[in-house]
Symmetry: D3
């Protein structure tokens, strides 16, 4: 099977134990994660060959981060090691009316200081089928924005399809700069992941849906992306967040002019981070396994749902568990 | 007061901390438990004299397991110690749409390798009122199935009544073998614990209830057991499991041709294991204390409900706490 | 800005980890707290200058307790250190149908053995605006009841207003003694915190509301306090406790003959202790910041709600977080 | 085999995790222990039948304490339960030049408030061989001092021999009162445990040994006790403490006019509490098993040595482990 | 660079936290390890390409074990997955005079039940330079003893050299059977790891050295192995164990008729397991890097020494750290 | 009493639990510390009024860091809060032959980006007696080097004496730049802390002592500093590090042309960080309390010794504990 390439930053995440707030914490649980690494790890567990590309420091924290990815059997031979710091983020887990809170300390990481010739894209794309990117990477530095565009073009030259999670982070870069990037990259994209609100924000669409799951509004946004940029398929995730520990999620897949809607799950949440990454990995896996659009979006939302019940940034689950939830009885009796 | 005898395996249970999945766990919480030990421990806390019979290894893990039971003031003088291994099971606690998962590693334990003359039943049944068994023990080996039948007959000879939790575990033995065992043991049983679905499965009853709490279906199943085997009383537990951490439970007691129905509790769950054992211990206690059938089944379901809020395999609660929930105001204000 | 004085006991709270019950605990999490310290800590985080007055043992546990308060930038120069013991309470966190349980071991603490001349009230009230008291302190000893009355009078002499949380603990003192104290203190009170049921119990009001949030009954109770004792403002908290880990809270503020009602929050609970203290601190802060009665009671209930999502006895949150919940969108999306 | 009776207080010990000091601790490890309970627990593990007599509170902490003792198979049917508090002590583990530190909070415990008729000594001494006491109990209250004297006399009436660990705690009672007690009890004692320095202090002996292991001085002290009070055998423990985590211990047994000296062990220390209790339990066990005086004191010191390598108040080890150290090769290779 | 193949069992190791003994443990730290996996992991960190061959269960514990090895960048494509159980061992860490203790529960693991055609040796030895074996594997079953002999012959056919750690475990198999195996395998061995005492025991050599580091005795044992079996090089480790937490280790390498002696290290011990595996991996690495015999044995002992300061079964250290200790200043100042 | 001003960076320190290495850590213990904060915290515990000056981020990690200092009763009203990041360092605790290892991630912290007008030195030095600085701060940025020089001059203008710990960190700045700074600051210094080797390195002294405690060499270095720069008193610490967990420390104080030598302590080490800061704080305290030079250096070394037995960056101990070690019996028996 051909492999999927993911490219992005791997960070150390530090979270206070249990429900403690930052000023109460006297220890932090350490996880290693990042959107594209999370996707790679989920894909590997789903049985899809993956190669993960990033830059990590030469110190023991860089080694720890590398090991965390490598344990899932992911190819890391294109990971660059350089002197410098590992990006960190601190994440306090919310509960009930208290929202989760993230403090980023990722500036000046070795990845954020990537140079164009750190990565050998011709070697990387050998034998690849998909190239998976997110909107976080270009926001980290203008050089990285260029690297992303350049590598996406390289991917296309190698016949590798491009999957892109828009993942717009307002706090990381100016709106104008972001828009310019999105306008440049999107024409290279085959499959995109987004949600209604950021699509509206980035591209200034005139949408004012009353319900976050409104199908009309999703159809409008999907049409814009497919018609304007020629993106083949657009997957949307939806989320209602009545409480920090109870959310409802669902999703749409727009493919061949048709909108397929997934089941909606109301979930009690263990860890909210990385839901979208599990969603993306599962949708791509479903496509690689030849499932229908309806089946694919059902798997994507089921994987995202399962992620919310697992600690850390990435999903720990097999493809069997995803499909059992997506297509099974919904039975949550103890398995023995 | 005469004492209750329970006989069955005591295992080491290893559970990842918090909501971690097995591949994330770098430590396991250790509990010691097993269906019949759980019943013994609950009974002891409820003030009923208990003697627990099992076989444990001579090593320090066997001692640790013994201590865990002994701390509740249970008579363990009939516990056999032999060289060999302690049965283990690994239990991952589910959450929301992710079900709990058990990996058994109990084969070849010293208990599973019990020999008929390991236990001196005449000594064991001195001064006993009830003998409590479950369907797990006979499934562990053909020899244990024989020991169970033999000891139940011995109990009857000593005037000791037999309580039996059907507890049918499909994964442990072939259906035919199980059926043969149940057909042999049931005529010796005075009080049995079961649920609608396993009763149907074991005995091939033609039942297809739409609602797990359907009273008609429970009446049919109860009639089968009382009429076919002469069992005096049949207690049913019911469970709805919309999520791994939210279940609703209730129960029925069929006695003297009458079906008594308990209150239904919707519960947030700390630990789902051992609910049925708390149910059985509380029902037996209620009978020993002379409560009515309605009161008894209410206590059984209340004890099972409380168990779900306690970590580990067995209930940690007093009889006062059980009756306060069963008959009290349902007040959950902080007690100070 | 003038400062708030709080006076009361600081205790060590010992809680089993997670959902373990006392007989299962092999370690206890240590928190330091107490009603008036909790108020002081919340006020300090809200930006209000505070001085906390108490008596602590000279040993290292006393130092640990002092440090826990001092870390929030609270003035502790009036804290008395004496040889003796620190009050302790053990708190087991309930879940679902299992209520939380407190075992007090606070008798004979150095604070409970306070003598009238331990505290220099003239020095303490220099530059103060409010004096915050609760009904727990006078219940600890007759001498403390006298100290409370004496100090409240001193406060008034210094032009310092008195805020008083009735906080009636039936287990600590006889009803008659309590009533006598309340009748003596209340005429000195400017702002009082209470709930409907304890108001009824203490003063023997003829109230029988069907709904804990019944506005009529709250108006009656408020009128009694304002008319009978001349208390200017009365704040009520309300609570419904369908389960140990899901409660609904709200509140009323009666001021200038008008009853303002707060939003109601249904909450999943991390730690139920100290909700009323956060409520009091927020209401006082709102008043100091010049907010309206409606805004003040909304802030008080929002602060209490946030407290329930935080481990330990006191709220850890900023005033911005309180007002964001009280007046914001109720958005609980992750903040990054 | 006849059983040993021990009588004394059972306390909750709270220790900061690892090497943290009290003001750094945000959790405490919980152990249950007390000199006489420690002796009982060691005896039970050594295969000697034991009955432990004490008074514990009726609350769940009392139950937890009871369970901790009961898990070792000790007879606790004479344990009294009363409303009140459990004694507590806080223990900070020293290291290198920083000494361990204990903060006692045991005043007013239910045990300290024992009344003479709480204990039915005639029932307690049925079938007993030895009665084990320490000098801590009489120091807790004058009533307890009377109870100790009374019960020791009762023991003699029942033909039960008295073992007594002098265990003089200067901080607990005045020297004069202690002396009076020791002078009254000692004539009833058959076997006593002590060390050189406290023997000198209590009885005002004119001893000034340069070496804590000086044999002459030990002979003098032993002669005083045997000749003055008629005590048959006197066991001494010795300790050199160059550092909080490295000590050297040894001991002497004076019997039939002859002083037997044990091997000396230099130990790295895990937990220093309870060394003397393991010493006493092992010496008594050796006597019950008919070992020689030299063997007995070697076992006592070996048990004490092993205790220092075990966390908590009491030794966790079998008699085989004690004799392997006392008489074996001293091999500390891994056992597999 | 050509890769090293290691073949052996991977187990779950469960160790009580800190210095707790088994009956005190209420949680276990989980490590995954095994002699040959430990060697593989050390080699990978030293920069030597490694492929690890074993059989693991298909369940999530098997996955967790696999991940633990895979995180170090080891090739695991020849790892076999089958239904069954994972071998487990429980390890209690000794201290001072209390020895460490292991309870094995490895019988009937999927690895122990290996069948000859589970492993495709022709594929496995492609591109390999060394095949690393230990004496534990053949002791697990007669079939495994055959597989080891068969695979060693296959290795030789492929021009792959054989390294063999005698690792004789008396408890696992009868002496006669072991001797027969050793006599069959040794003629195929190029490099062997052993110690003086087991060499004497297995082959019945007439040696009675007074000092475990006696050079004469080592020369005699080395000569036996080189002359009798034609083994080219023999590495000996030596150990003195005055206490469970303080050992002294050294070693000899016999090559080309010459005995090179390493420095001796006296060590405080964090974790004693896996010292020999680090020794073997470092010696092989030194050879691959072209170091002299003296340098090689110095590296081997230094690596073993560092392992004793690291928790778990395998060394976590780089080749730079090993050589810094072996050839550096011995400086243990903090590195910043 | 006049207060001491300290100025420097406060960092978050993250340390793997126990003896785990970085790649093994899945959680980090969090401490807040920094040389000058450590000094301030020790002084506060010794009863010396202190004001700590630094810059911290406005986020919750900044608040947590502030609280950590504030809990000791230190005046923090001159602490600056600005948007940005908190400096972090990761510290792995060595053992035996494995050295401790620090990974710094402190670049670009809000403190490192201090601007000259962030601090109001005239206000800061009101009522101060001493200004305490270290060589770490000027190494963080050229601006900070200027701020240090400027503030030291301001201190002198206010009649505040300057204490300076040379603390030369080669990795932080070029030797030439450092030398220039030291040459500029030293003439303003009244009391300096250093060790023999860095004094030699910084100032290029021709010293080659064979013994780190060589008195001659210390006299030479002291003379250089007093004569060349006019520094009144020079305190030296000495360290021998035979192992990562066993060190021997001592010290010299050169005052009025006379060298006073301290006792030497051989220590088992809990945490090696911050020994020098405890040394400095104790020496300053001894001077403020009017102790002799010999007494002062004995207190300094005793405080440093105690620090090594305490987890975290700073000493947790009272002045009584320091003097008990310095002047007492050296008794490490348990204190009860």
């Amino acid at each position: 099977m051909k492999s999927v390439i993911t490219f992005g930053e791997l960070m150390l995440r530090l979270s206070p134990e249990g429900h403690l707030r930052f000023p109460q914490a006297n220890s932090f649980h350490a996880y290693y994660g990042g959107a594209e690494a999370n996707v790679a790890i989920a894909l590997a567990q789903f049985g899809i060959p993956v190669s993960y590309v990033t830059a990590l420091p030469t110190n023991d924290l860089g080694t720890a981060a590398l090991n965390a990815v490598r344990q899932f059997g992911i190819d890391t031979k294109h990971v660059v090691r350089k002197d410098g710091r590992l990006g960190v983020y601190y994440c306090e887990t919310g509960y009930s009316q208290r929202a989760s809170q993230v403090i980023y300390d990722r500036a000046n990481s070795v990845f954020a200081q990537s140079k164009p010739d750190d990565y050998d894209w011709d070697a990387i794309f050998q034998g690849a089928s998909w190239y998976y990117l997110t909107g976080i990477t270009p926001a980290l530095s203008p050089v990285l924005a260029e690297i992303v565009i350049f590598s996406a073009k390289k991917a296309k030259e190698h016949g590798v399809k491009v999957a892109f999670d828009l993942n717009y982070r307002r706090s990381l870069w100016p709106a104008g700069e972001a828009r310019k990037f999105y306008d440049t990259l999107c024409p290279l994209v085959d499959l995109c992941f987004t949600n209604l609100y950021q699509t509206k924000d980035i591209f200034g669409l005139a949408l004012d849906p009353k319900d976050p799951e409104d199908p009309e509004a999703h159809a409008v946004a999907a049409s814009y992306l497919t018609e304007h940029f020629g993106i083949s398929e657009v997957a949307f995730s939806t989320r209602k967040s009545p409480s920090a520990n109870v959310n409802a999620i669902s999703g749409y897949l727009y493919a061949n002019g048709k909108l397929s809607r997934a089941k909606t799950y109301s979930m009690d949440i263990v860890d909210r981070v990385g839901g979208g990454d599990a969603f993306g990995a599962a949708l791509l896996t479903a496509k690689e396994k030849g499932l229908s659009a309806k089946q694919a979006i059902d798997c994507a939302v089921a994987a995202s749902c399962l992620k919310h019940s697992v600690e850390g940034d990435y999903l720990v689950a097999s493809w069997d568990e995803v499909t059992a939830l997506a297509f099974g009885t919904g039975d949550t009796l103890i398995k023995r």
